[in-house]
Amino acid sequence: MELALNQPAPLLKRLSWFDWLFAAIVAAGALFALSQYADYMDIYEKAILLAVIPSLAVAGWFWKPFRPLFLVVGAISLFAISQYSGNLARMEEAFFLRFLISSQAAIMWMCALFGFATLTYWAGLLARSDFTLKTGSALTWSAVAMGWIGLMVRWYESYLIGADVGHIPVSNLYEVFVLFSLITAMMYLYYEARCQTRQLGAFVLLVISAAVGFILWYTFDRGAHEIQPLVPALKSWWMKIHVPANFVGYGGFSIAAMLGVAYLLAGRGILASRLPKLEVIDDMMYKSIAIGFGFFTIATILGAMWAAEAWGGYWSWDPKETWALIVWLNYAAWLHIRLVKGLRGPLLAWWAVVGLFVTSFAFIGVNMFLSGLHSYGTL
């Protein structure tokens, strides 16, 4: 808790030497990348790279655990890259790559760790064991680290396949499902620390486990983990910002839905004594939807601007666009009801749960059942 009379010091004065070191490392890394690969980037990509410096630095300043995560992911990813020595076949030979940190191995570790984290959170919730819950958080952190390493290394691997094949790994359903799991887990970890409650991890990790289940099915049944070159429509710098922004939105909505489930259960006395107070769950649910809505708004706008450049119109009533609008309208209505009418309680929790179905349809259902311009991730 803040000192009662201490004025909140300006952010810059509250920073420790580690904060500055972190920012310096981020800047050094980005500038090194810029100096090395400037020839391969267009002006927008350079701008995005430069904008990443302050974004990551500020993210680390506001959310301290982000710093070690970033450094660990960075260090291990660089180690993995060094293990390749520019030869893709090393994936099957080098010990670390083969079993731990080639992209596919790392992502499979992520899947396993998310699975363990889910079980651990539930054990901790049912046994009222703080230690077990903390273990659940630690496992979730490890899963997040492994997942990011997997994506980073995958990014590098795509360039090893071919200089013209290489691209940021957010281009198909497999890659974005990994991204979804990571972003959802990170958003949850942030709120977990902020609201000082770990019990809700048991619920949030369920939706991540579902995503993990999908990743596994998609890998083993469909071989979707293969890196494919980009279709011309996706070759654009817009992808780098449109897709991640969207997944902050999806992540927020998914967390809210799982909290809605927890709220409804607790409201009926199920697990009530083990879960935090209803107001806390409600507050967290609101915050997830708020951040999700904000980013979903940005993502949809970015998508419209990209569409204007790729398809010749910022809005074509393409099924994906239309469903994005429906999702947006849904949560806009949710926020109106809560903020303007001041409504609380089970209705909003139910609504958040139903919202997940609407969101999932926009996310996967459209690709499965409807056809349109946006058919990059077909099942």
């Binding site: 808790m1 000192l3 009662a4 009379l5 201490n6 909140p8 994936m91 099957e92 083969r98 596919q104 499979m108 396949i161 071919g162 596994l216 890998t219 071989g223 983990h225 293969e226 890196i227 494919q228 070159p229 279709v231 011309p232 070759k235 654009s236 817009w238 107001e279 806390v280 507050d283 708020a290 809505f293 904000g294 708004t297 940005i298 706008i301 419209a304 601007m305 204007a308 450049e309 790729a310 398809w311 010749g312 119109g313 910022y314 809005w315 009533w317 239309t322 609008l325 429906i326 309208l329 849904n330 806009a332 209505a333 109106h336 903020l339 303007v340 009418k341 001041g342 409807l370 056809s371």
Partner: protein, 681 residues
């Protein structure tokens, strides 16, 4: 009922500005939007009739479901949403502006006492001194504070987060803005002209230049979204707008000429880029500029954005060799054709119209072949992310055509230029299907040792030639019998059988043979008979091959596996010819490719309005969600201080902040007057 009119107006205003109405509109809009995603939009009307049947087709058409998002009723809902949002803004605006500015300094002590969030403290400080320190504290917390002297002390009125209200304005007016921008880019002007009878949709398939003025839109049309397909070396000064079951011709303010269209491929064969080199000319023929348009890289000129949207064949010239499949000879005839053009074929089977549909320079096919997984760690982990494209192969060019008989019945064909390897042997492939929904069935014609279909064609001609039959049968009989059995009755019998088999086969392939066996052989002996007859047929065909080789001046075919397969494949292929559905096979010898680029041209004056609206929307949403509006009052009297706090949204964060301020007040009112620091909790 004098008051009826004003109260109606008032209640209409109430309704329009009510949130329930707005939420209902949003819900209706959402449901209406879903319809458009489930039913494919803007398809040719014929597709809908097939899908829905004539009755529902009309019902759906009346409801405007084929273009939901431009249907009148949909626009009405949107308009209502805009009106409702605007009314909501006008209704709340004055109040909100007042709220933003106001410190609510006239609040009475009585009402402060009624606040849910209030905290009292006893103090020994002079009111002014306490007011000063409290003001400093609140300002440090980001509050704007007004110090108001009262008769018996001081009232501090403070507020923070007024931008929340600004967020409301931004978010809601931006919705109106986005909708207006969208309407500017919509086709309202055309719709009005259509209703008034000034413009009409063209539904006939006629050359562009013959489209009458009533279906043409002038270059000054403020907004449009059309497309045009330009072959290499040609140009266009119009674009086509698809509307309902017809189209409109949009005249462009310039002429676009396509110099070249390029497709680049990845090594795996997937397309990597589509690019068009274009030149723009004004209508006087002066070159304005030159540019390359690619996907994601449009060209903007004169507020018209030109996009790479699609590609197609632009009228490739094909040099063909035609084979009369049922002629008893092996001669072919030369033929030339151009994609999208028709030509007439005259044969014994009657007159056919040959319609060239398409030409594809690349065909990436999955040639199958199981990839053996090695038992490695990678397979446990789902395998390597490096895709295995060994089974993908570019099988070369193909061309598509329809053959329409005199009755108008047409079949579609797709022929590959190069042979394909199947089961280790090479064939020329020709695909055929009766309707576009079917998959192609393939006629495979075997290649000879020289890699041509000539041997097949000669053999086919010989087998269909009734005049050669006695000789083939005779050769067969002589070969089949040992020396001493020749010139006996057995030889005559064999000759007869072979002739009969060959004649039956030439009539309708294996099917006629099958029918013959069914009609003439008792069931118990059929299986054996089939074996014997096939053997006779194959051996006779081998003799025919020797004969045709001899006639063509070629060496005697060796009696090896390759020849055996050539014979068998030829028989299969001839048998398939009877269900091939065309009397002629067209072999592609060479081509001169002409590509066409599909460009989309748009003019959207509302785009910047929409973008500005989007920016405001984003700002508004974040202000609304992340700026919390709070008010604090501190009523200080000699010896007593009352803290009251309010917020429109009472969240956990608000409760926390109130507790913090209450503690601060306790600290400030402490007699020591030293603002002691609390130990960190």
């Amino acid at each position: 009922m004098n008051t009826a009119t004003p109260s109606f107006g008032k209640s209409l205003f109430e309704l329009l500005s009510s949130m329930r109405f707005a939420i209902s509109l949003l819900s209706i809009l959402a449901v209406a939007s879903i319809i458009g995603t489930v039913l494919k939009q803007s398809e040719p009307y014929a597709n809908y009739i097939m899908q829905l049947g004539p009755f529902w087709f009309l019902v759906f058409e009346k409801l405007g479901l084929y273009d939901v998002y431009h249907a009148a009723w949909f626009l009405v809902i949107l308009t209502f949403l805009v009106v409702s949002t605007s009314v909501c803004i006008t209704r709340n605006a004055p109040n909100f502006v007042r709220e933003m500015k106001s410190f609510r300094e006239h609040v009475s002590e009585q009402s402060l006492n009624a606040f849910k969030h209030r905290h009292e403290a006893v103090t020994a400080h002079a009111p002014e001194a306490l007011a000063a320190s409290a003001q400093a504290y609140l300002e440090g917390q980001g509050y704007k504070v007004k110090n108001l002297p009262r008769e018996d002390g001081v009232l501090l009125a403070a507020k923070a987060g007024s931008w929340n209200r600004l967020g409301y304005f931004l978010a809601h007016s931006s919705i109106v803005m986005i909708c207006i921008g969208g309407l500017m880019d919509g086709n309202l002007i055309f719709k009005a002209q259509q209703v008034l009878g000034y413009k009409k949709i063209e539904t006939r398939d006629i050359p562009q230049s013959q489209v009458p003025a009533i279906s043409r839109l002038s270059p000054s049309n403020p907004s449009f979204r059309g497309s045009v397909q330009i072959p290499e070396g040609s140009s266009a000064d119009v674009a086509f707008l698809n509307v309902a079951d017809g189209y409109l011709v949009q005249e462009l303010p310039f002429t676009v000429a396509l110099k070249q269209f390029r497709i680049e491929h990845y090594t795996t064969g997937q397309p990597k880029s589509f690019e068009s080199d274009v030149e723009l000319f004004d209508h006087a023929g002066n070159k304005i500029r030159e540019a390359t348009i690619a996907v994601n890289h449009p060209l903007v000129h004169d507020n018209v954005a030109i996009y790479q949207a699609s590609f197609a064949d632009g009228g490739t010239r094909l040099t063909l060799r035609g084979w009369n499949l049922f002629a008893p000879t092996a001669s072919s005839f030369p033929l030339a054709g151009t994609v999208y053009q028709d030509t007439t074929l005259t044969s014994e089977a009657g007159e056919h119209t040959l319609e060239f549909i398409d030409f594809r320079p690349f065909n990436i096919e999955n040639m199958g072949g199981d990839i053996v997984e090695t038992g490695s760690a990678m397979s446990v982990l789902g395998g390597s992310p490096v895709s295995d494209n060994r089974h993908l192969r570019n099988v070369g060019p193909s061309f598509q055509y329809k053959l329409r008989d005199a009755r108008g019945q047409a079949r579609e064909f797709s022929n590959y230029m190069l042979p394909l390897e199947l089961d280790g042997r090479w064939y020329m492939m020709s695909g055929v299907r009766d309707t576009p929904n079917e998959a192609f069935r393939y006629l495979r014609m075997p290649l000879d040792a020289a890699g041509d279909i000539d041997s097949f064609m000669r053999l086919r001609g010989a087998l269909l030639n009734a005049e050669l039959r006695p000789e083939i049968a005779a050769r067969f009989a002589r070969q089949a019998l040992p020396q001493e059995a020749r010139s006996t009755e057995i030889e005559d019998k064999l000759k007869f059988s072979a002739s009969q088999m060959l004649a039956l086969f030439a009539e309708g392939g294996f099917q006629s043979l099958g029918r013959f066996i069914e009609d003439n052989i008792p069931e118990a002996e059929r299986e054996k008979a089939v074996g014997t007859y096939l053997r006779i047929l194959e051996l006779a065909t081998f003799e025919a091959l020797q004969l045709t080789n001899q006639q063509a001046g070629l060496p005697v075919p060796p009696a090896d596996d390759a020849t055996g397969w050539l014979v068998r494949d030829t028989l299969n292929s001839i048998s398939d010819m009877f269900v091939y559905g065309a009397p002629v096979y067209l072999q592609l010898m060479s081509y001169d490719e002409v590509k066409a680029s599909g460009l989309q041209l748009t003019r959207s004056p509302g785009q910047n309005v929409v973008y500005l609206g989007s920016l405001l929307l984003t700002l508004g949403v974040f202000f609304m969600l992340y700026v919390r509006e709070r008010r604090v009052w501190l009523r200080i009297k000699p010896g007593h201080a009352l803290l009251a706090m309010s917020s429109a949204k009472q969240t956990i964060d608000f409760e926390k902040e109130f507790t913090q301020h209450a503690q601060a007040l306790d600290t400030l009112t402490q007699p020591a007057s030293t603002p002691a620091k609390n130990p960190e909790a």
